[in-house]
Symmetry: C2
Subunit: 277 residues, 2 copies
């Protein structure tokens, strides 16, 4: 039975992702700070942490990548959630024309631009997060609406006026579940590593990828991050299909180890499908 | 003589980057919306657009990558600017203890966490951008301060109380200058391409990188973006040393063209060094 922490507050997409985690859960605990959340696993205050790692529109969640680099934790599972936006207001509001103000995080506002322009004759306000916008609307008058997760309406006694108001339908976020030990082989697994080439010679990344290509190991993602020391000096986050206990994966990893400055195995875990709404 | 548009308002780091552009400039024009700015080059309302593409802490500016994908523009130059944060307040403020409120963009606040905790006994407020925070402080009472670019102080009649208040010193942003035609060879050039592998077979990226590695062409950056159609389907933004007019670059590019679904040449341009403060 796991104590599962997630990046809160309640009613966020990360809470939805935490609920999709395929382990046995004793308790879900929201944390408001991602660094405190991840540190809580390191310090064994909780058993699992659910954090966003990649969004199809915004790219990598760099803070999560930096925490994976810093702490010695493993990825035990992944969850992919489609991101949809809803318009939330007090129960008494039935007509969009009754609204004078709409509030949300700037990214959510940007993703609902067409809906706002076509359907809302409102002053537009920004909030620190969609959860913050929803909290503000719960306290404001009935002429206010928030754009956010429909899932949060219940927590704040609000109603959903419209669902799926985002412009672009290809919006999903991938979350990872972090723990002290990774997962056993299931037959449909993925493995994540971080590595840094030994020096900046031509073909450094090519030589790393060769070890996977020669063994027909399919890369599912590659992300580069500046190593912060100087421009042009990168570290690579690489995801590929297979489990670290498989022989061809072990061979590839031991050969990569020979040619890089350092490598960190983030763990093997069962692959996710996008969860339906 | 170029009309150079940049992502404004005045006093931002993008304005500083625009001023480092190594062409002859007739006029600098701030634009508040990056999409409108880039479209202005497409429509020939301006000759050059200066936009951020990558930050060492935040990663890629995904909106810029998406605009490079959408429009047929070329990169003609790049500028790298170290990002530093300053504390700005009205001229009459001399003591940090006189401050009751500090305001900035959430990312700037996060990057100055240690300074705020140690030196400011203030309510912390968020703004849409550091420029927005500075504008608010210019209108607010003398017990307010903004965290932002020292460069903006003059525009709003504010004083700089402290410089370099950021926690991490390795913070830089790379900007690119966009135009309708790219740059001639200088002998110290970089080339940027976008490409998409033909299908998701193992080694698709490896085969692309092989064309560069075999010719000792040094990759300076690789960034993957989801192709938005489905998860696991990526496009790659690749930067490498050399100019498109060099023979080995031409050979590499024509071989890459044979093995990818599509490729887009974003242009060749002189390499930048990090600009000193």
């Amino acid at each position: 039975m796991s104590r599962v922490g997630y990046l809160g507050p309640k009613g966020t997409f990360t809470e939805m992702a935490a609920e999709e985690y395929r382990g046995t859960v004793a308790e879900y605990i929201p944390y408001c700070d991602i660094k405190v959340l991840v540190k809580a696993v390191v310090d064994e205050k909780i058993d699992r942490a659910v954090v966003p790692i990649e969004n199809s529109l915004q790219g990598a969640v760099t803070l999560t990548l930096d925490l994976l680099l810093k702490y010695d934790l493993k990825i035990v599972d992944e969850v992919i959630i489609p991101i949809t936006h809803s318009l939330l207001a007090a129960d008494v509001v039935t007509d969009l024309d009754d609204l004078d103000h709409v509030v949300s995080h700037p990214q959510a506002l940007a993703q609902c631009r067409a809906f706002i322009d076509e359907h809302l004759n409102c002053n537009v306000h920004t909030a620190d997060s969609t959860a913050d916008a929803i909290k503000r609307v719960a306290k404001a008058g009935p002429n206010w609406a928030a754009i956010g997760n429909y899932h949060a309406a219940d927590y704040y006694d609000l109603s959903v006026l419209r669902n799926d108001i985002q412009d672009n339908e290809e919006n999903w976020t991938r979350f990872v579940v972090l723990a002290k030990e990774d997962s056993p082989q299931t037959g449909d697994d993925k493995t994540s590593i971080i590595c840094s080439p030994r020096d900046d010679h031509p073909g450094a990344l090519y030589e790393i990828l060769k070890e996977f290509a020669q063994r027909e190991i399919n890369l599912t993602r590659i992300e580069s991050r500046p190593a912060r020391k100087m421009i042009g000096d990168y570290i690579f986050f690489i995801d590929f299909e297979g489990h670290r206990s498989e022989e061809n994966i072990q061979l590839a990893l031991s050969n990569v180890e020979e040619i890089v400055a350092w490598i960190k195995l983030l763990g093997s875990y069962p692959q996710a499908e996008i969860q339906a709404d």
